[in-house]
């Protein structure tokens, strides 16, 4: 792909227009998945396992079938048996048998909340009540609940027949689905050169994306065998390619319409309900809608893993990191596929480490299958690594940002997992944080009523994906254009994509009318996720707009009875290279399409490369009540290299939102498990996401080191900002009260216990 030279100044890019879908969203007219109503539509509800690990002995659906209003009842026996093969959805690999089993158990339930049956009935409450009437007899098995339990010899097996891999060798009778390693240099030699070596072990528990909109799906299995699906998803095409093999129908027979989505953060890439709704619909002969309750969202959709992480890092007295070892033990959940692979690649990505070893373990436990959550796998690793880096800085007496700048990876450096960095903005964004007013303002160490303050920094990295996108632009006779895209808009991407087309077309952002359509109406487009959408779909829009301009030049040539090569386009005006009298504006020409050959539509499609990655460093001040252990964030600044901010407000919003999720993760969010694998805090009351009262304003510093593989330099933004916060908060707590918290969340009870232990009066 050619690298396009950048225009010197942009007219649209970098401005802050009102997003195209904004009006509908502030007047309550935007249609989200649960808002859909169809003629004849009925409601579904699921019966879920109360046990984390049990064999299904018998299911009796007879009472449910006779309950008032019930039109269909299904169990695992009604679901097609999917092939045990691996498919790629987006760039994730899904084992179909696992994906199918996760939706509806057949022989064995492997997590609490695992569906075992489903009911469709005239209204939602009738379906819920009927689902309660399904009787299931279980043989309860001992659940495997932590990575340590799972790896212990003689541990119960989550899947008896699963073959794991240990450094490429097949293993049997294990809960370790995979163990892999990255290695570079000689760590023993590196540690031998170190003046300071810090080794620590960290523990985390699962946390959830916490989107406010519960999962939902509506399906209609039509009499001609075709299936219509309406759902809140991050990727309609991904739903199609997952549902087709699970239901064993051709992809072509499925049309997925993505409705507005109320948050996802990675958690709405996998499917949970769609095939179940479809099978219920086939049986009932009507469209069936299921909306999950919040408890099921927590218990039975994909959180990000907890686990254990060991980090050993050494540095010499000049402040060079000489060696590092990282062992990542991540919970996969009940099926293989934790984000430990990404965690391993991100763990040391911010630092030049000549001698490094990273081992990753993907471990089966009787908990919900993990799913992507904003920079999946990276935050956990960064919490551990950034905490250890903080300790090294203290041991060496170095400023934490100077140390990070001194060791920062830059273009040409080799990552621990092998590849060499292209142009990246790690140094630039670290320097921006160092130059911030926040960092230059010394912290008052004492707050009111004896509260103690501390300051912490941490750095973070995420790859930022490219992947596939397609956009079609239709020119309207009034000179405005429709932009047809397959990228679900989860946070302002209609605007950021339309703006890129507008820039090329010489239109205002408002003159481009983006619409997100179903899988039959646009070319294949990967999910909105991986910080890829403004980059790749924006690129597709750029290409489509270029093709529109090329087509319009031909129309101008027809108009002037000349040749398209003679037409140039600048500032919204087509003109002849040879006759300065011949000029026509985009709008004027659009009105003449009929007489110059008919409608003009043009598409752009791309399989975009990565972006070189995004780096973001965060700075946080906390205030701690030393008598209760409560930590309040009182000031927060985040700097990030985003390549190019198309719509700066939404870029800031991504950074602020990511930081906030990270703060929640650091301080209070957790899956609190019973000893039987039941999540005890499956409500927003007890899951404790931050409220407006728990946060200060969050300053976002946008740094722009253009991505050379994108015409406008976009790198993507959404994921990087969740990587640094947990480590930054841990470092701030240490700065305030002198204790190193190695368990997340760093909830008051843990902070207080650590303070008491340090003061020698631990209980």
């Amino acid at each position: 792909m050619t690298i396009i030279e950048q225009p010197k100044e942009y007219k649209v890019i970098g401005t802050r227009p009102i997003r195209h879908d904004g009006l509908d969203k502030v007047i309550g007219k935007a249609q989200y998945g649960a808002d859909l109503k169809l003629p004849g539509m009925i409601w579904g509800a699921l019966t879920r396992s109360p046990y984390a690990h049990a064999r299904i002995k018998r299911i009796d659906t007879s009472k449910a079938e006779q309950a008032p209003g019930v039109m269909a009842v299904i169990t695992g026996a009604d679901m097609p048996v999917a092939e045990a093969i691996e498919i790629e959805t987006g760039e994730e690999v899904t084992n179909l048998a696992h994906a199918s089993d996760k939706l509806m158990a057949r022989d064995k339930v492997v997590y609490k909340g695992h569906p075992v049956a489903a009911v469709a009935a005239a209204d939602q409450n009738a379906a819920i009540e009927a689902a309660r009437l399904i009787e299931v007899e279980y043989e309860v098995l001992q659940p495997v609940l932590t990575v340590d339990e799972a790896m212990a010899s003689g541990a119960p097996l989550v899947h008896e027949d699963y073959a794991g891999k240990d450094l490429g060798e097949e293993t049997r009778n294990t809960n370790v689905a995979d163990h892999f390693r990255h290695e570079t240099g000689d760590t023993a030699a590196g540690f031998a050169q170190a003046a300071v070596v810090v080794e620590r072990e960290f523990e985390l528990t699962m946390v959830h994306q916490g989107y406010i909109e519960p999962h939902n799906a509506t399906a209609l299995w039509k009499s001609d065998g075709k299936i219509e699906i309406w759902t809140s998803t991050q990727g309609a095409f991904g739903v199609r390619s997952s549902v087709a093999p699970i239901l064993r129908v051709p992809e072509t027979d499925i049309r997925v319409t993505p409705l507005e989505i109320g948050g996802g953060f990675g958690g709405k890439i996998p499917i949970y309900l769609e095939p179940v709704c479809a099978v219920l619909s086939k049986k009932a002969g009507r469209p069936v809608k299921v909306v999950m309750d919040r408890k099921s969202v927590f218990e039975a959709t994909g959180p990000t893993p907890g686990g254990r992480i060991r980090v050993k890092m050494g540095a010499n007295d000049k402040g060079d990191i000489t060696a590092a070892e990282v062992d990542l033990y991540y919970e996969a959940g009940a099926y293989p596929g934790s984000p430990v692979g990404a965690g391993a690649m991100c763990a040391l990505a911010c630092y030049r480490v000549a001698n490094a070893r990273v081992d990753g373990y993907d471990i089966l436990v009787n908990k919900p299958k993990t799913a992507a959550y904003r920079a999946p796998g990276a935050t956990q690793a960064a919490y551990a690594v950034e905490s250890v880096v903080d300790e090294i800085c203290q041991a060496l007496g170095m400023d934490p940002l100077d140390f990070r700048l001194h060791n920062a990876t830059r273009e040409g450096d080799r990552r621990a997992d092998g590849p060499v960095y292209p142009r990246i903005g790690n140094l630039e964004q670290l320097q921006a944080l160092k130059d911030s007013e926040h960092y230059r303002t010394p912290l008052e160490r004492e707050g009111a009523d004896g509260r103690l303050r501390g300051r912490g920094v941490a750095n973070g990295f995420w790859f930022n994906g490219g992947m596939q996108s397609c956009v079609t632009i239709n020119v309207n006779s009034d000179g405005e254009v429709g932009l047809v895209e397959g990228s679900v808009d989860i946070g302002g991407t209609r605007a950021s994509i339309a703006m890129q087309a507008a820039e090329v077309l010489g239109l205002r952002a408002e003159e481009v009318h983006p619409v997100v359509v179903d899988t039959d109406s646009v070319g294949y487009t990967d999910m909105t996720g991986g910080s890829r959408t403004t980059n790749a779909t924006g690129y597709a829009a750029y290409l489509a707009a270029q093709n529109v301009i090329a087509g319009m030049k031909e129309r101008a040539a027809i108009l002037w009875e000349s040749n398209a090569d003679d037409v140039e386009f600048e500032d919204g005006v087509f003109s002849s290279k040879h006759d300065s009298e011949l000029k026509v504006t985009f709008k004027e020409l659009a009105a003449k399409l009929t007489e110059t050959g008919g409608p003009l539509a043009a598409s752009g499609s791309i399989r975009q490369r990565g972006s070189g990655g995004g780096f973001g460093s965060h700075l946080v001040d906390v205030e701690i009540d030393p008598e209760t252990g409560k930590v309040d964030v009182i000031r927060y600044t985040a700097a990030q290299d985003v390549g190019k901010a198309i719509h700066p407000s939404y870029v800031e919003g991504q950074i602020q939102g990511g930081a906030t999720q990270g703060i929640g993760w650091a301080l209070n969010e957790e899956y609190f498990w019973s000893d039987q694998g039941v999540m005890e805090n499956s409500t927003f009351l007890d899951y404790r996401m931050p409220t407006a009262l728990d946060l200060p304003m969050i300053d976002a510093i946008i740094v722009e080191v253009p991505n050379p593989t994108h015409p406008f330099g976009v790198r993507g933004v959404g994921e990087t900002p969740i990587v640094a916060p947990v480590g930054a908060v841990a470092n701030a707590i240490h700065d305030a009260v002198g204790v190193r918290l190695t368990q997340a969340p760093m909830k008051p009870q843990r902070v207080l216990a650590a303070i008491k232990e340090k003061n020698g009066n631990g209980a």
């Binding site: 408890k295 008598e627 209760t628 209070n668 007890d686 207080l752």
Partner: protein, 289 residues
């Protein structure tokens, strides 16, 4: 949820009738912030919900010579938005203004909080330290119970089938009285108390001796606990940090917490010490002002 019918009696007698008819298959509905959730989560199945908010007595908030009468269904906001009530009962306001968020406070009532009998209820300790009396009505007529005796187990009260809470009465605070309630939560709003402590004390006329005091604890036992020893320890003493610390120790002794997702035993006991001291400090400031 199990389908139920909705009844909206307009008098105490009608409400008694309605509740008695369905026995334990009916519940009184005040703010609904607890029972609607509980019916949805299947904690109990009901055949009838009896909305008591059309019974005038239950929505009356009356401040008289003798004290304050809070109808069982009076939502929190009416309590804390009443300037006179707020001036006389700041300890009560501490609780009424921190139950849930603004939306919840539009609906949730102190009476409902009491009847829900959650060990972690924020509303009950302040009622106890204000020497509250619970007035109920039932098939056998009316009766009055000290608030500290009202809850008997998590989710269970002294109310018999068909009986419901009509109002809570708090005596008018004497001169030299101060009360306060604080809870500890990991967030700053929208949370359940890990520990809550309500304290009150009454000073002598000179303001240098404690004449009476109460300390009540939430979320550290199956019911809210009136920590008698903690309150009694202050009587006759000079109010101040030393006496409050000692009361905190006695309160911690009285606490019988469990370890759960909100906190373990040690953490909760420590919070009882801290919050007892802090609430007594605030109560003293209020008593002196």
């Amino acid at each position: 949820m199990h389908p139920f019918q909705y009844l909206a009696p307009t008098s105490v007698a009608e409400a008694v009738d309605a509740l008695a008819r369905y026995g334990d298959r009916a519940r009184a509905l005040a703010g609904g912030t607890d029972i609607l959730v509980q019916t949805r989560t299947g904690r109990f199945d009901l055949d009838a919900v009896v909305d008591v908010k059309r019974v005038p007595e239950l929505t009356a908030l009356t401040l008289g010579e003798d004290g304050l009468s809070i109808g069982a269904a009076v939502p929190c906001y009416r309590v804390y938005e009443d300037a006179e009530v707020a001036g006389l009962y700041p300890g009560l306001i501490d609780a009424a203004s921190l139950i849930g968020g603004i939306q919840i406070q539009s609906r949730a009532s102190l009476g409902g909080n009491l009847c829900n009998a959650s060990p972690s209820a924020d509303g009950i300790c302040p009622l106890i330290v204000h020497y509250g009396q619970a007035h109920s009505a039932g098939p056998d007529g009316r009766r009055s119970t000290p608030v500290e005796e009202f809850c008997v187990a998590p989710g269970r009260t002294i109310l018999e089938p068909g009986e419901f809470l009509v109002s809570i009465e708090l005596p008018r605070p004497p001169a030299g009285f101060g009360g306060a309630y604080q809870r500890f939560i990991p967030r700053n709003e929208m949370d359940i108390a890990v520990v809550g402590v309500g304290s009150s004390l009454t000073l002598n006329a000179a303001g240098d001796r404690v004449e009476s005091a109460r300390v009540a604890l939430a979320a550290v036992g199956p019911t809210p606990i009136l920590a008698h020893a903690a309150g009694d320890s202050l009587v006759g003493k000079t109010p101040g940090i030393d006496a409050f610390r000692e009361a905190g120790e006695l309160a911690a002794d009285a606490a019988r917490p469990i370890s759960d997702m909100r906190g373990d035993v040690n953490f909760r006991k420590e919070l009882v010490r801290v919050l007892t001291r802090r609430t007594l400090t605030t109560a003293l400031e209020r008593a002196q002002s």
